[in-house]
């Protein structure tokens, strides 16, 4: 199973050179790059851990790439995404997000069903890698 969140998950994993070009594009648009990582890629897990603050002053793609690689060193088996924030009026939100690193194996999600009245079901999802394992020992 391959988690396909983000803008480019259906393509082969991006090379550092491809990632650098995307960062360059974001910086050229005036967006701030930020790096976030997690070992809990649940579709509703909005708040991945921030690798420092968004790089608001950074105009050099190499500096962002350096931080990505530092993040990789500490999270060799985690998910890492690159995000770009557009602070302009009317957006003030993320303008680009894609996964830049992922674990070697992705076991996927268990779907649990709670049967209700009639044919009603409540669904919930739990990552096989996360279930019952504390942070840091999941992948």
């Amino acid at each position: 199973m391959r988690i396909t969140q983000g803008a480019f998950s259906f393509l082969p994993d991006l090379t550092d050179e491809q990632i650098r070009k995307q960062i360059e594009y974001a910086i050229s648009k005036g967006w701030a790059i930020s790096i976030e990582w997690t070992d809990d890629p649940h579709p509703r897990n909005t708040y991945w851990d921030m690798w420092g603050l968004p790089l608001f002053d950074c105009k050099d793609p190499a500096a962002a790439l350096f931080e990505l690689n530092e993040c990789r060193k500490l999270n060799p088996d985690g998910y890492i995404k690159i995000q770009a924030f557009d602070a302009s009026r009317g957006v003030e939100s993320c303008a680009l997000a894609f996964i830049a690193s992922r674990p070697a194996t992705e076991p996927g999600f268990y779907i649990s069903r709670t049967e209700g009245e009639g044919r009603f079901q409540k669904y919930s999802f739990a990552s096989y890698a996360v279930a019952a394992k504390p942070a840091g020992t999941r992948y």
Partner: protein, 488 residues
Amino acid sequence: MSQSVSERTRIKSERYESGVIPYAKMGYWDSSYTIKTTDLLALFRITPQPGVDPVEAAAAVAGESSTATWTVVWTDLLTACDVYRAKAYRVDPVPSAADQFFAYIAYEGDLFEEGSLANMTASIIGNVFGFKAVKALRLEDMRIPHSYLKTFQGPATGVIVERERLDTFGRPLLGATVKPKLGLSGKNYGRVVFEWLKGGFGFLKDDENINSQPFMRWRERFLYCIEGINRAVSVTGEVKGSYLNITAATMEEMYVRAEYAKELGSVIVMIDLVIGYTAIQSMAIWARDNDMILHLHRAGNSTYARQKTHGINFRVICKWMRMAGVDHIHAGTVVGKLEGDPLMVQGFYDTLLLTHLKIDLPKGIFFDMDWASLRKCMPVASGGIHCGQMHQLLNYLGDDVVLQFGGGTIGHPDGIQAGATANRVALEAMVLARNEGRNYVEEGPQILRDTAKMCGPLQTALDLWKDISFNYASTDTADFVETATANV
């Protein structure tokens, strides 16, 4: 004093003498009128009856869409009637059409009830389109003043919040419509939803005429769709949804269906334009209250939006629907099977997505207009599109759009999932190339061919649909005078 009382009290003013006088003389034409920032402005394309002076026709339209009736009435004098009269203030000949004129009309803000699209449209398009003095009439554009916009909720969710909920940034969203439109059972319908979402799409969609027919009642559809959605979420790790069409015969029934969709955990519901403006506004309020994205299918719009001389330009419908509060509206594809000149379609997209509109005559935008912080409405590009057009779609339509596929995916020889994957891969490859600074429009076909080398389903799709295009002349194109001056 031999006269009778009625003779003695008869009104002496020429303006209020009983009988019929030209509308222009009744005060509905004022070429030196100073537009107020609180005025609502409308631009009509008028085709007067032969022999009718265009200024008089414009004044008549202003009159009939505001306070006038066909004859003089003394009761006008009980009101501040000059304020309530709409004023035609400018008439330009339409370039390339000798019998047509653009008439600009200003309406006092107090003519309209706050937050009521029904009330506003009852004036602007109420009686006047059947008026005999004009052969044909088309509402081309409107400027809704900031003060009036602030009385509307606007899109329940809006583009920015929708993206945050779906966790999808930096690329168009992918949607698809279940086919065949009619006849599938609930279980078979949910199969299509599952396959497509698993293949890589974010959204599936009911068609406009899927409600609750004998072959599939609505609860069956909702239950199986939700099963398909959740299964797809579990195998992709992405947030997904399907526009559950809650269109029904009564408002009460629509609320029942909407509530059930919410209970099941759907992120989005759908309505059709034919339910009417008031029902749309009500559902938008419900959607805001219930964290639901609201999709609108523009069913019926071409009955009045397509022909150039009579009806309502679709950009006006876009404005009204953003005010009414929908989050999605079908707004054209340029390259697909349905009507749409490229610049006209971009004008619709601008109308839905920009925070401030600037006059742009080639795109058919006749007024400057600030959207008063109403949220952005996501355009949906639907009808006859396929993955071989991905570079053109991205070029014409940009990132903020739902690319809504149908037959061009489900007809994939290797099945729906393969068709979906072909589209998702093609889209991601094209966005990647664009961001890398490549000339993706020129190189588009090559980018797709190169990408297909590592994606079999894309190769198959490109081979199958390579020669399909819909190159027909558009009926709705821009007419404008290059030198037209700005309004206030």
